[in-house]
């Protein structure tokens, strides 16, 4: 009986392909939007989390300038004192609970090899940088202590730089020109891919801080200091220690605020992940509204259908159908229609999310739970919005219905 009804309703969908399609459009768009939003959203969340963990796990980043927040605008201002070797030395000497402490100064610089050139992020740092940022070498070796100290012209390059200059070839031992100085490649960094903001993390050249300061920056400033916590120390515990040491090193009186900021990358990761979750939720709600519109579309078409088929209802009632038979018939029809829209919507939504994950370079993360929910929800919409029209059909008087033209 139910299968009969389902078959019947599929037939009536087929008889009116165009109209059924137009009716379904609301549901299709609604479900497609929900599926695409949620799938892209969870992909983005995964991507953000992965990005942050690529920065290095349990990482604190110290920069000059007051911290952002209620205290006022963050970042560098006129009076900001840069960080320097004094602060770095203080941290190295006094900080406990850190796995790695590393300075980094960075600049976009034109890098040249032979006739090729590339603008690359050139970073002056030391050998602890790789550890702090959980970065490995594919080949070669890190800077030696003597290279660190003396600022020898050696460098490590990222995958993008290698591809630009050497294709698949071995870059080790080659000399590239960075700004106006030359430096010898001693190692190749493991590829990290793009950040969520589309920044190529592999378009980098690392060189000893001293070399960078002397030959590229022309000063002895340090842009940031990376402090990686060891396994036993949570960043929340490490952060106040770093702050104390730096205040001391920079001789900040107790009544003055910090003139540097310490960012906890773990917290930023969590905040960003929850921001994308909220965003996803909101977009999902918008999509939900379009589902509601879709439901009203279903209701409308079912009312039309009941009116158009008044005579059919009359015949069925005369022949012995009970109210519930007619009710079920139209309910099933509305549900089948709505489900069909839901399934088409899911396909479109997943396709959109797939395309988005390709273009945005985020993981394609379809969730079975979300898909099931969409199926259930579209069926529910069919039932809820189909109920009133179905009831109207079921309550018809057979004589009036038979007389209907």
């Amino acid at each position: 009986m139910i299968w009969e009804t389902v078959r019947l309703s599929l037939l009536s969908v087929r008889r009116n392909v165009l109209r059924s399609f137009l009716t379904l459009l609301g549901i299709v768009i609604g479900v497609a939007a929900v599926i695409a939003m949620l799938t892209i959203g969870s992909g983005t969340t995964e991507k953000v989390k992965a990005d942050i963990s690529k920065l290095g796990s349990n990482l604190l980043v110290v920069r000059p300038g007051r911290p952002a927040g209620p205290g006022g605008p963050g970042g560098l201002d006129q009076a900001t004192r840069p960080l320097g070797s004094k602060e770095l030395a203080a941290l190295v000497a006094h900080l406990s609970g850190a796995r790695a402490i590393s300075p980094a100064s960075q600049k976009q610089v034109r890098v040249i090899f032979s006739t090729e050139s590339l603008t690359s992020g050139v970073t002056g740092t030391d050998s602890a940088y790789l550890d702090a940022r959980d970065w490995k070498l594919v080949s070669g070796r890190p800077f030696s202590d003597s290279e660190n100290r003396s600022g020898t012209g050696v460098c490590l390059i990222g995958e993008t730089v290698r591809q630009q200059f050497f294709g698949a070839g071995d870059p080790e031992g080659e000399i590239i020109r960075v700004n106006r100085t030359s430096c010898k490649i001693i190692g190749l960094l493991e590829p990290k891919g793009y950040t969520g903001f589309g920044q190529d993390q592999d378009n980098v050249v690392l060189m000893p801080l001293a070399a960078y300061q002397r030959r590229i920056a022309g000063n002895r400033d340090i842009d940031s200091i990376y402090v990686a916590a060891d396994d036993r120390t949570p960043t929340t515990e490490l952060l106040p220690r770093v702050e104390d040491i730096l205040r001391d090193a920079r001789r900040i009186p107790p009544d003055r605020e910090d003139d540097f900021s310490i960012r906890d990358m773990t917290q930023i990761a969590d905040a960003m992940a929850s921001a994308t979750t909220t965003m996803t939720g909101m977009l999902g709600a918008v999509a939900g509204v379009s589902l509601l519109v879709g439901g009203i579309g279903i209701m409308n078409i079912m009312l039309v259908s009941v009116t158009e088929r008044t005579r059919e209802i009359g015949i069925r009632l005369a022949i012995g159908a009970h109210e519930k038979h007619i009710l079920i018939q139209f309910l099933v029809e509305a549900t089948v229609l709505s489900l069909l829209g839901g399934l088409i919507g899911i396909l479109i939504g997943l396709t959109l999310a797939g395309l988005a994950s390709l273009t945005l370079a985020i993981p394609f993360a379809p969730s079975p739970a979300v898909i099931l929910l969409a199926v259930g929800f579209s069926a529910l919409i069919g039932m809820v919005f189909g109920f009133f029209p179905a009831l109207r059909g079921a309550r018809l008087d057979p004589i009036d219905a038979l007389r209907h033209e």
Binding site: M1, E4, R15, R311, E312, G314, I315, R316, L317, A318, I319, G320, A321, H322, E323, H325, P398, I399, L402
Partner: protein
């Protein structure tokens, strides 16, 4: 041919509207039809024929008076119970055929069996058999749009008899047909009446159609004006 009493009208009234505007479609009709009878109902337009037929077929209920069908007080049953009675004991044939559009002949004939809960296979077999009985072999999978008026009415008759009903209610079954087709359909109804013992109540405007029946009841202004056995010779 005097079987048991199948249909009894006891001072049946059917009124529409209220106050001044009240129309009495039936005004105290007394009537009895026995099982196995073939009754023609005639009368001018608006005299209450269709109203009476709807009550006979348990589609409608009297405003006042008693309608009993197979000894059941059908006038006081609720919608669903009357639907059940119709499904079990009554077949309908209408002037306008009333087949489901874009639905094949067999599927149309199967329809009442669906509401009886008959399984698909058996339903199909019974429907094919009913179509054979009305002489429609070879047209089973045509839709109404692909059938002539006479053929459509045969499908409607097959649908009415597929449940082996006790009573066939036919409101102007030949109203839309030409003379030749009219007589074919009437031959068919007569055969069903004699061979299956099917009780038939049929409205018609044509005397020669009424003549196929064994008895003619004439309505006038909601009353039975005359009720007589059809004589073999005019």
């Amino acid at each position: 041919m005097s079987g048991s009493r199948l249909i009894t009208f006891d001072k049946v009234w059917k009124s529409y509207g209220q106050g001044e505007a009240t129309v009495h479609a039936l005004a105290g009709v007394d009537l009895a039809i026995r099982s196995g009878e073939f009754v023609a109902i005639m009368g001018p337009s608006g005299s209450g024929k269709s109203t009476a037929m709807n009550i006979i077929g348990c589609l409608d209920t009297p405003t006042a008076g008693t309608y009993s069908f197979m000894g059941i007080d059908a006038g006081r049953l609720d919608r669903n119970r009357r639907a059940m009675l119709r499904n079990l004991y009554v077949g309908f044939v209408f002037q306008g055929y009333n087949l489901l559009p874009r639905t094949t002949a067999v599927e149309n004939v199967e329809l009442p069996l669906i509401y009886r809960g008959v399984a698909a296979r058996e339903r199909h077999d019974l429907a094919m058999k009913a179509l054979a009985e009305v002489g429609l072999v070879g047209r089973e999978h045509h839709t109404p749009a692909e059938l002539s008026g006479g053929q459509q009415q045969r499908v409607a008759i097959a649908r009415a008899i597929v449940t082996r009903p006790t009573l066939l209610v036919a409101d102007e079954p030949t109203g839309n047909l030409d003379t030749a087709r009219t007589h074919e359909i009437m031959e068919l109804l007569t055969r069903l009446n004699t061979e299956l013992g099917l009780t038939i109540a049929m409205v018609t405007h044509e005397a020669d159609v009424a003549f196929y029946a064994g008895r003619t009841i004439r309505f006038l202004d909601g009353h039975v004006a005359s009720d007589a056995v059809n004589l073999e010779v005019v």
